[in-house]
């Protein structure tokens, strides 16, 4: 496996030691049909106050990576087979179950995609928010209720004092996602993993929720891992991006560079397939084919069967490209990254340098 190129720190001042350092993480699912290799050597780091966006299609391993970090993989069938997850310098994977449980929620929290299914339908939101304080802080019922109201105010749920007794189904989608965010924020964790936090929401509410998340992140200088397949959401809030394909990171870059000039053909394909107003009337680009089955990942570069640049080249079929530094603090796992960068005119100069 390739050594991980440490991503450049963001413009914001960050301490030298990353908050979270995932090293060579491997996760597999042992199913009846065989072993599905969901994550195959993922490396990334997140510093305090920094937002890392993890992009990828369904099945690219982005959510499984997050579940492995949280320690909520379903075992069996899911197993972490290799790697380290260093959180504030300590390896989460070697901690005892009880130690990890104490980290979850208090130090690392998670926001789920669909808040309606991620909130318990038979408990009021106040009970569920208060539970955070009862589990981790041993608060009394009354204290927990007061804290719940305070949290709901903080995420700007109107009339928190009255709504604290309502059930999740009585909230609108955006308000429910605010409740989820409040739960994740409750104990002021150092790191939040948001797994497609806005996918289930409509566009106007998406923006509100993302703004809220970004604002709270700044206020508490938390690290944020934003898992998404929506390139539009990423552009505004992320500091850096990691693009995943078939359980590997294929490209990492500071956020704006990747939009200007992707260094991996897969990223290029993703960017081209965004509908754009100035290309109205023309057929929308789509990456050909389907993502590979994780039971049978193709040899060589896993993307080569769909790649516009491989063009049947032997190297793409035989050798797995490592994620190596390219230019400007970026890394790409493509044998022909120069070509990819180069045929984009805007970036031609930099690529040649």
């Amino acid at each position: 496996m390739a050594t991980s190129p440490d991503l450049v720190p963001t413009p914001a001042q960050t301490p030298a030691d990353p908050l979270l350092d995932v090293r060579d993480l491997h996760v597999e699912f042992r199913t009846r049909d065989g072993v599905a290799k969901a994550v195959n050597g993922v490396n990334y780091t997140v510093h305090a106050g920094e937002t890392l966006a993890v992009l990828g299609e369904s099945g690219s391993g982005k959510s499984v990576t997050a579940q492995a970090i949280m320690g909520i993989l379903d075992t069996p069938p899911g197993f972490v087979t290799r790697g380290q997850v260093l959180f504030q310098g300590r390896d989460l994977l070697t901690m005892s179950a009880e130690e990890r449980r104490k980290v979850r929620g208090a130090r690392i929290a998670m926001i789920f995609q669909d808040a309606l299914s991620a909130l318990n339908p038979v408990l009021t939101v106040g009970e569920q928010l208060g539970e955070m304080f009862r589990v981790h802080r041993g608060a009394s019922r009354k204290e927990a209720r007061a804290k719940a109201i305070e949290l709901m105010d903080r995420v700007r749920i109107p009339a928190a004092r009255d709504r604290v007794r309502d059930y999740p189904h009585q909230f609108s989608g955006g308000m429910r996602q605010r409740v989820m965010i409040a739960m994740a924020m409750a104990l002021e964790p150092d790191l939040i993993i948001a797994d497609e936090p806005t996918t289930a929401l409509d566009v106007t509410v998406q923006a509100q929720v993302m703004d809220l998340l970004a604002e709270l992140q700044r206020e508490f200088t938390m690290g944020l891992i934003l898992i998404t397949h929506d390139l539009g959401v990423v552009a505004d809030v992320a500091d850096k991006i990691a693009v995943m394909y078939a359980g590997r990171i294929v490209e990492t870059a500071p956020v704006h560079d990747i939009y200007r000039a992707p260094a991996h053909p897969y990223t290029r394909g993703l960017l081209r397939s965004i509908p754009r107003l100035d290309r109205k009337g023309r057929e929308l680009y789509a990456i050909k084919g389907l993502p590979p089955s994780l039971l049978h990942i193709p040899p060589g570069c896993p993307f080569h069967p769909r790649c516009a640049q491989a063009r049947g080249r032997e190297l793409c079929r035989s050798d797995l490209p490592a994620l190596l530094p390219v230019v400007g603090g970026r890394a790409s796992a493509c044998h022909f990254w120069k070509e990819t960068l180069g045929d984009d005119n805007a970036a031609a100069d930099r690529a040649g340098a």
Binding site: M70, I72, R101, K102, V103, R104, G105, A106, A109, M110, F112, D114, S117, A118, L119, N120, P121, V122, L123, T124, E131, M132, V135, H136, E150, D153, R154, R156, I157, P158, A159, A160, R161, D162, R165, D166, Y167, H169, Q170, F171, S172, G174, M175, M180, M183, A184, T204, V205, Q208, D211, L212
Partner: protein, 332 residues
């Protein structure tokens, strides 16, 4: 029924009035937008005319109150419970007092159901017989539901070898024919209290509830909110008791309520066969057994306890049906 019109009545103050509570972090545009988009209007839409929070249970209760089957069965059961607790309220006689001179005599003043073989008052025995039947039924159901749901929930939650072992054991118990098992196990018992019978029913009944509980826990544990609660630091016991159990308990309650009626019938069956309750305990099953060979001479001896038994079993099974309809509309 009281307050049948109440869904129309309550007016949620928040529908009309702007929220009184502050916004905590001060008033700002985003909050104002959110308020406009999703404030009182959203609430009125979500809550409908009944804007008070309604959980599964209050929803079920709302359905039940309107179900005539529930009302009839509940009234019968309430009356039964009343005579179980206080039989003296409707009979002043002693169910064990025998007057051989009156053996098999028909109805007479003060003895509306007549007398049995040994000259005991059939009416009084029917009234006192409810006590044995209902207490056996209730105790057996409570035992079965507790044992079955605990074992089933653990099997469903932890899975793996514990689940495999438990499932095989419950298969074995499923395979024992109830009557044969009763004849074998209970014929060696000499204790004349209800406990051997209750114990036997729990022993043979728990696998049924365990299977239901296991299935519904497996369904409930796959929900995102269980994963979310785990991601936010809840341990196994909290997940199981607070997040999974309340969402998995409805089918168990349904099965338990319906089973109650069948346990009452089973008690009568076992007592009829002479391996259930023993005299001097007063039981409908025993009385039916005593009366069965006198059916031509004195049919009243059989009809009254058998009628009481049928009515009781019917009431509990109807209650179970109504509860099932209310808790699990999909089964209807």
């Amino acid at each position: 029924m009281p307050d049948a019109q109440d869904p129309l009545e309550p007016v949620d103050p928040h529908q009309a009035v702007a929220p009184a509570g502050g916004y905590g972090g001060g008033f700002d545009l985003a909050a104002a937008d959110a308020q406009i988009l999703e404030g009182p209007a959203g609430r009125a839409q979500d809550g409908g005319p009944l804007a008070k929070p309604r959980s599964l249970w209050s929803d079920a209760w709302h359905d039940l109150r309107r179900n005539p089957i529930f009302i009839v069965s509940a009234l019968i059961i309430l009356f039964l419970l009343f005579i179980v607790i206080w039989p003296q309220a409707i009979t002043t006689q002693d169910p064990l007092k025998a007057n051989l001179a009156m053996s098999q005599a028909g109805p007479s003043a003060g003895h509306p159901f007549g007398f049995d073989n040994q000259g005991r008052d059939v009416y009084t025995r029917v009234v006192y017989g409810a006590r044995a039947s209902v207490s056996v039924g209730l105790c057996a159901t409570i035992g079965v539901v507790l044992a079955g749901s605990a074992l089933g929930a653990l099997a469903g939650y932890f899975g793996g070898w514990w689940d495999a072992v438990l499932s095989r054991i419950s298969d074995i118990f499923f395979g024992i024919p109830v009557i044969l098992g009763g004849l074998v196990f209970l014929s060696v018992v000499t204790n004349s209290t209800i406990w051997p019978v209750v114990g036997f029913m729990v022993l043979l009944g728990w696998p049924q509830v365990a299977r239901i509980a296991r299935g519904s826990v497996i369904t409930a544990r796959q929900n995102d909110y269980v994963l979310a609660a785990r991601a936010l630091g809840a341990g196994d016991s909290r997940l199981l008791l607070r997040h999974i159990a309340p969402n998995a308990v409805a089918p168990v309650i349904v099965v338990g309520t319906i089973a109650l009626g069948t346990y009452i019938a089973l008690e009568a069956t076992l007592s009829y066969l002479g391996v259930g309750l023993r005299p001097p305990t007063v039981s409908w099953g025993i009385d039916i057994s005593d009366a069965s060979n006198q059916i031509r001479n004195a049919p009243h001896m059989l009809l009254w306890p058998a009628g009481a038994l049928s009515l009781t079993v019917l009431a509990f099974i109807m209650l179970g049906d109504a509860v099932r309809d209310a808790l699990d509309p999909k089964l209807r």
